[in-house]
């Protein structure tokens, strides 16, 4: 695993990097809604736009700006606890859910329609513009010259050092997949950052962070072992600002093919 840039974290205290230094502005704005042709999509751009506002005002407080704050639910990528169809969505919003945890919302018909449109647009109306190529060619590229399979595992094949992608098509939008391939450093989720640890008995452990709290850190190491370390047992704890993968050198058509393949990966076949 190639580790390029390391940020030193003070041992046994918090890494108090200024959040702004490498943060990306995620602005959830109604005005980002792009025109979409009604003929191509079920919902109009006006509905998405209106729904964005309804979402901000009625839903974002609990579900969060990206729709991922309730455990087990990620609205922007269509991950729900019970909902499948838009009718289900309509019912949950109108009647509440989760044994009272989510109250019922009395929205007007066009507002309800809009908020469903906004959710179905993946909170990212530009997502539809992402070019999606041929999954068969994409699979070949993924496993071959794209070098994806050098680190990523799919359906039981490949290493586990990078996140397993067997379900990636179900939990990422095309736009998010594209961003990860083209600009992995920006797209890498902070929890997934590579780490390098040195223990008191001089063992150096390199791996990927899975979870962290005040006193411990959980990783998968380069030997694919799940390990939980107490920070008091470490003499050094470094977190990389960048993933080990490089921006791709594939052509735009090839990237589109890989995205097409990734979108077919939706868990168990």
């Amino acid at each position: 695993m190639k580790i390029r840039i390391w940020r030193i974290t003070r041992l046994c205290t918090l890494s108090t990097l200024p959040a702004l230094a490498f943060s990306v502005l995620i602005a959830m704005s109604a005005h980002q809604a792009q025109a979409q042709e009604a003929g191509d999509h079920q919902y109009t751009s006006e509905a998405v736009e209106a729904g964005s506002q309804v979402y901000t005002q009625q839903c974002a407080l609990c579900h969060g700006p990206q729709g991922a704050l309730v455990d087990g639910i990620n609205l922007s990528i269509g991950q729900f606890r019970t909902v499948q169809s838009d009718t289900d969505l309509r019912q949950v919003i109108g009647e509440g859910a989760g044994e009272g945890r989510m109250p019922a919302f009395s929205l007007r018909a066009e507002e309800l329609n809009g908020v469903i449109a906004f959710i179905r647009a993946g909170f990212d109306p530009e997502g539809e513009a992402v070019k999606i190529g041929d999954p068969i060619r994409g699979k070949t590229l993924f496993e071959g010259e794209g070098q994806c399979a050098d680190c990523h595992r799919v359906r039981g094949v490949g290493p586990r050092t990078a996140p397993d992608l067997s379900n990636i098509g179900a939990i990422r939008t095309p736009a998010s997949l594209q961003r990860n391939i083209l600009d992995p450093a920006t797209a890498l989720l902070p929890i997934n950052r590579p780490v390098r640890l040195v223990t008191r008995n001089e063992e150096t452990i390199v791996g990927r962070r899975l979870n962290e709290d005040t006193y411990t850190v959980q990783i998968i190491d380069s030997q694919e072992r799940l390990r939980s370390l107490k920070k008091t047992d470490l003499v050094s704890y470094e977190i990389s600002d960048e993933p080990s993968k490089q921006p791709t050198t594939m052509s735009s058509d090839e990237v589109a093919d890989v995205i097409g393949y990734l979108l077919t990966l939706r868990g168990l076949e």
Partner: protein, 552 residues
């Protein structure tokens, strides 16, 4: 043989019933007034009228705290953040459960004597979780506010309802989530609904009958002083809710309440003026509800900086002069010391990064520095701190609370129109994320994986010196914390956080003495009490209330 056993069991049950009846002492006002003198009990939400959450108990010490053993656990039967604060009276704990149930629990074994269930009206509207933060007690009664804005009195021994009155109109999104405060013969509550365009108030009810004794609006109506801090009819739906239990100074006969945000939340331009008494502390005559003074922390608030923190009272020598003070770490990022006789501003300094204001003037009024559109405002929407109860230890002279460090929000104000029973927020907000689509901090924690990481904010338990207004020490956690504080006469500080660790910290040095992973977010303060000479500490983590004591 079977028959004998049956009779035997019944015989024992009868004996226990008789014993319980004989020991069910009343809780007159005088006991609550002198709650500090009976540290074996926890008689009010904040452990006494001064709201210090400080206990005289000292059996558990810095030396033996690591010997604490789990005595019992009570599992919540309802999912969702459990933000309830236990009340303990003579070995019986009263605890609420979502949405509006009350249980009487044996404080030694954790077994439940009775459970009362109130089913709130279906249209009850709560912005941020169907929370209930606990009960109040007086004499032989228990009092609970409800999500559908009712106040209910129960018989403390049987759990049967005695009266049930309306506090606010549920159709207009009024609600009660706080634990009531009993003063003399009255039960006092405030109302939530600041995200739905209510007009807030504090109201007092006769403890015997439930009849309303007084009601003081937190937004003055036409003809009342400071009505001109609003324009046009903005005052009618200006929010200013009261959703956290207040304090009381019996000598001054003043009861103090923190008032929440003006509405709509994020569009200050839509409601010109200072918007009194939103984001203020108000001092009310406890008998009449008459407003005696106010101090506004955040005029014309655009950031949802509710002043719903607990007013913490202390009588100390402040910079050489004995003073009756009030300490307040506000959601707006400033720590304040006020004179609670007059409301005079004594000191105020930022305790986290603050950029919505460049400082406070000599009267404590903030100098506004609104950030350009699209730029982050510090502290963020959940505040530098929030409703989590702080503690003041008279022994250390320090004020302890949970702060959120390096946490910001980008606000996007929008014109919004009031519609009854609907959110009235005035726009939206977004957050700084370390990567596109990365999760960011929410109101609560529902995932065992901290996938937002400390890059979007983290917890800092701060010990503040009211003499200087400055931090003496801090204890940081990787995730943010909504935990309250408890201090004891042995200079222990008990607290928690979203990670689920229950911490015992040296209240003088800030050093960690002991902790245990209880596995669920701790979103209320621990309490302590004693029964038969044994000191207990109770804390709620996730869906479990755990009670610890030293091994005998």
């Amino acid at each position: 043989m079977k028959l004998v056993n049956k009779f035997g069991t019944i015989g024992i049950a009868l004996c226990i019933c008789l014993a319980a009846t004989n020991t069910s002492a009343q809780v007159p006002y005088e006991r609550i007034l002198n709650a500090a003198d009976e540290p074996e009990n926890w008689l009010t939400y904040n452990g006494g009228y001064k709201s210090q959450r400080y206990s005289q108990l000292d059996q558990i010490t810095p030396e033996n705290v690591s010997d604490l053993k789990l005595q019992w656990t009570l599992q919540n039967q309802v999912f969702g953040a459990w933000q309830s604060n236990p009340i303990v009276v003579d070995g019986i704990m009263y605890i609420t459960e979502r949405p509006n149930s009350v249980m009487a629990v044996d404080a030694i074994t954790g077994r439940v004597f009775w459970k009362y269930r109130h089913v709130p009206a279906e249209n009850a509207l709560i912005c941020c979780g169907a929370n209930n933060r606990g009960v109040a007690v007086l004499d032989d009664k228990v009092f609970m506010g409800t999500l559908d804005a009712r106040l209910i009195a129960l018989d403390r021994i049987t759990g049967n309802a005695l009266w049930d009155v309306e506090v606010g109109d549920v159709d207009l999104a009024y609600s009660v989530t706080m634990a009531p405060l009993v003063i003399k013969d009255k039960v006092i509550v405030g109302v939530g609904g600041g995200e739905f365009g209510i007009r807030g108030y504090v109201a007092a009810y006769d403890a015997e009958t439930g009849e309303e004794a007084w009601k003081t609006y937190t937004i003055p109506g036409p003809g009342e002083p400071n009505h001109d801090s609003w324009e046009g009819d903005d005052w009618e739906h200006g929010g200013a809710p009261v959703w956290i239990t207040g304090s009381f100074d019996p000598k001054l006969n003043l009861t103090y309440w923190g008032v929440g945000n003006p509405g709509p939340d994020w569009n200050a331009g839509q409601r010109p003026g200072d918007n009194l008494y939103s984001d203020s502390v108000i001092a009310l005559d406890a008998d009449s509800g008459e407003l005696k003074w106010y101090f506004q922390f955040t005029p014309n608030d655009a950031y949802d900086y509710d002043a719903v923190q607990v007013p913490v009272l202390a009588d100390i020598v402040w910079r050489g002069t004995p003073r009756k003070i009030m300490m307040w770490a506000n959601r707006n990022g400033y720590f304040y010391v006020l004179d609670r006789v007059t409301g005079e501003f004594l000191e105020g300094k930022p305790y986290v990064t603050v950029n919505w204001s460049s400082g406070l003037d000599e009267n404590g009024r903030p100098i506004p520095t609104p950030q350009p559109e699209g730029m982050p405002t510090f502290p963020g929407n959940q505040g530098g701190t929030n409703w989590y109860p702080p503690s003041f230890s008279p022994r250390t002279g320090l004020f302890y609370f949970s702060a959120w460090q390096d946490y910001a929000t980008i606000y996007r104000p929008e014109e919004s129109e009031y519609q009854p029973g609907r959110a009235f927020l005035g726009g939206g907000f977004s957050v700084l994320a370390p990567a596109p689509g990365a999760p960011t901090i929410g109101i609560g924690r529902t995932n065992p994986i901290n996938n937002w990481t400390n890059e979007v904010g983290f917890a800092s338990l701060k010990a503040m010196d009211p003499q200087t207004g400055e931090e003496v020490w801090s204890y940081d956690q990787f995730d943010v914390s909504d935990s309250g504080m408890l201090t004891t006469a042995s200079d222990l500080l008990f607290t928690g956080g979203r990670e689920g660790y229950f911490h015992a910290i040296d209240a003088r040095s800030g050093d960690l003495l002991w902790n245990v992973n209880l596995g669920g977010q701790i979103v209320m303060a621990p309490v302590t009490f004693s029964v038969d000479g044994v000191q207990y500490v109770s804390v709620i983590s996730g869906h479990a209330l755990s009670t610890f004591a030293l091994p005998n």
